[in-house]
Amino acid sequence: MTGTGLTDDSIIRFARGVRLQHDRVRERWIIQAPERAFIPDPIAAEVLKLVDGTRTLGQIVSELASRFAAPVDVIGRDVHVMVSDLTTRQVLVVS
């Protein structure tokens, strides 16, 4: 399944029943999912904060590139790998 059909035009959103949430007691971001909660690394958290069901993958990449003053192709590669992994794990879905 990995890497299937992801392009810069893909719109990604959270699978139903999955969300990014701020854990105010432990002061960190968490992914809430069916019967488990897991901690995204800081980079994944920045990506997931931009997932709103309207932005394309390309828009997310360029926003991160400008925010962190990093090359678009480097950020793009990392984000594609991460999104593809989170899709396999049923956290994200591609519309």
Partner: protein, 368 residues
């Protein structure tokens, strides 16, 4: 921030012991709670408020059959308002096109739906309710049609172990995202029926192979949680992620427990949400502190390199098998009482004895 890591992550809210089914491996205690002792709606609301405040992230509404409580939608709505992730653990026999939309509207995040078997006749023999299987299948259809994430739970035992491949196929066909293939845990009713439920080593191997094959076949579509029987392991499980570290269980009458079997622990007072705060109970109640961390551990746990991985295994299992809740879990091959486990496995009957059913009527003097 002092020890926020020791805030509970997860709350199991056992709303009631009432249930239309009578599964002989039920995780409820042998002494079932009568309806008149159940916490009120207001008391559960207070529990949810306190849990969220302490850092609980997910609440699992369970039972008995939690849908027996008419206030379930109100409790879900309240939990959602607190930012808690809400999970309903149900038999599905009361979930239909009238009751389910109310739960959706309340904001329920996820359903875990249990099946006793994929074979209808045996499923209904084990659950003790005729017509239950069709209701469960209809429940799964309604959940999948809505798009809410669905986990199917299959408890595995001697009679149904051969049908794991069919269970996994059915889970995909029913639109489940997750499935639990969980061998019986031998506490309470499961322990009372151990001789009838325990699979053979060959059956265990078969189920393991079926799960491994399905994980490859359904990758990205179905995630499979596989729980093996402790008795066949060499190392114990990190029960509940460690005693009093991540998990709180509240019984129907408001007893606060580190796990759902903890009422078997002798010589200790069970703290009660009706008379104390959840925070105080979690931090100070002897039931929670007695096996928290590593200070309580005997040898060989105390000097074992696994002591902060498996936390000494399961206290209730140590009690059930070694007669001492503070012993090393006898499942561990390094435990002095490991022979008890081997003895159980070596003396399994060729013909399984009949079930001792979990009948709610035993709990209560109420009629109807």
């Amino acid at each position: 921030m002092t020890d926020t890591l020791l805030s509970p992550m997860s709350l199991l809210a056992e709303l009631t012991h009432r249930c239309p089914l009578q599964c002989p491996y039920c995780s409820n205690p042998l002494a079932l709670e009568p309806r008149r002792n159940e916490l009120s709606t207001a008391e559960w609301i207070s529990v949810l408020d306190q849990a969220a405040e302490m850092g609980v992230l997910q609440v699992h509404f369970s039972g008995g059959e939690p849908m027996s409580r008419p206030d379930l939608p109100d409790l879900i709505r309240h939990a959602v308002g607190l930012g808690l992730y809400t999970n309903l653990i149900t038999s599905g026999v009361l979930l239909n096109e009238k009751t389910f939309p109310v739960l959706v509207e309340a904001g329920l995040d996820h359903v875990q739906l249990s099946f006793q078997d994929i074979d209808t006749a045996n499923a209904e023999h084990v659950g003790g309710m005729k017509g239950a299987q069709a209701r469960k299948i209809e429940a799964a259809r309604l959940i999948a049609a809505d798009g809410m994430p669905l986990t199917l739970n299959f408890v595995i035992y001697r009679e149904n172990a051969c049908r794991v491949p069919r269970m996994l196929e059915a889970a995909v066909a029913m639109g489940a995202r997750r499935v639990e293939i969980a061998h019986t845990q031998y506490y309470g009713w499961g322990l009372a029926n151990r001789a009838a439920l325990m699979p053979t080593p060959a059956q265990l191997e078969q189920t393991t192979q079926a799960v491994e094959a399905a994980r490859k076949e359904y990758e990205g579509r179905l995630s499979i949680d596989y729980v093996t029987p402790d008795y066949y392991a060499d190392r114990p499980k990190p029960c509940m992620g460690g005693w009093g570290r991540r998990f709180i269980n509240i019984s129907p009458s408001g007893r606060v427990l580190p796990c759902h079997a903890a009422e078997t622990i002798p010589n200790v007072t069970f703290p009660d949400v009706r008379t104390d705060t959840l925070e105080h109970i979690w931090r100070e109640a002897p039931l929670f502190t007695m096996f928290r961390g590593t200070d309580w551990m005997p040898q060989p746990c105390r000097s074992c390199d696994q002591r902060e991985k498996d936390w000494g295994g399961c206290r209730c299992q140590a009690l059930a098998l070694a007669g001492n809740a503070a012993a090393t879990d006898p499942v561990c091959s390094r435990a002095p009482d490991h022979g008890r486990v081997l003895e159980v496995l070596e003396t399994l009957p060729v013909e399984p004895p009949p079930f001792r059913y979990r009948r709610y009527t035993r709990a209560t003097d109420e009629v109807g």
